[in-house]
Symmetry: C2
Subunit: 146 residues, 2 copies
DNA sequence: AGTATCACTCAATAAGCTTGCGTTGCGCTT
DNA sequence: AAGCGCAACGCAAGCTTATTGAGTGATACT
């Protein structure tokens, strides 16, 4: 995991479908050398995989919200994960410091869909109370250090 | 934009480096047909591009926080965007309903780095007050409808 | 000094991309 | 009802890229 690896990763974050030759040219290596490093990074779990960046609006996922989740008593983080993971509208979930126990990031087709997703979230047994903050507009949404 | 396109997108979200032939096999099309559809989706902006999924821990971006931003008076969303965009630690920013004006998602190497990023965020001229919520653990982080 | 290890380049083959071309299905006009 | 134009498809050819093996040089350890 040296500076060469980091530059390769940075290239892949910018364009995950770039050819190994292109990446190699950018970082000063041959194509096979790049492939071997990428394979190793995947093996080590530093690279988790490759994904497409989709315009959520275009696909009809235009509405999102951040939800503070307050639980009944002490709930282990693992159980929180298991509780929210089945909801397809959940795109992110984090345990946090402060008064709330967790923050859940919801993405839905519209306000009505968001409402039903929230209802299902509140239906999770250990969840006591939720405080929702609806997103009005997405200003920025990018990978780190791109 | 039909169901075939959606299935192609779903394949690409799962693995952005899959070959057109693989995708075609999964959705019942030939490789050239898939390529033409992908090109069109890119043209239309429905597909924004392809990126690598990196383990943030491994790259030394293990600490993150959500920050409620409160502005001085009325600030247009565009100016908020311009204000936070230069900070590399900002991975997401949203204007929201409720008492706060915006929510900013920060990602930093460690607590100290997070602190300096917060200071720089608070240094943005129109920002009045911030309320930070530090992430203790990431439970879930996934693309929608994967 | 010798040697093991590691990562690289080069080269060759296999796989995949990309484009032109002919075909088909569908809606619209004549 | 036949003809036309459009849009999308599959096939095939030529070209590019991926992938593997083999050889080489640098580094570090014995």
């Amino acid at each position: 995991m040296d500076t060469l690896d980091q530059r390769i990763i940075s290239q892949l974050v910018t364009d995950a479908r770039a050819s190994y030759a292109e990446i190699g040219h950018a970082v000063g290596l041959s194509a096979p050398a790049v492939k071997r490093r990428v394979d190793k990074l995947l093996d080590m779990g530093i690279l988790r995989g490759f994904t497409a960046v989709v315009d959520p609006e275009a696909l009809g996922w235009g509405t999102e919200a951040f939800v503070e989740v307050h639980c009944h008593g002490n709930v282990p983080t693992q159980r929180i994960r298991e509780g929210v993971e089945p909801l397809p509208e959940v795109v992110g979930a984090y345990t946090v410091s402060g008064p709330a126990d967790a923050i859940v990031h919801l993405r839905a087709a519209d306000i009505h869909h968001l409402e039903t997703a929230l209802e299902r979230l509140r239906g999770v047994e250990f969840i006591n109370r939720t405080v929702s903050t609806v997103v009005l507009s997405r200003l920025l949404d990018r990978p780190p250090q791109a």
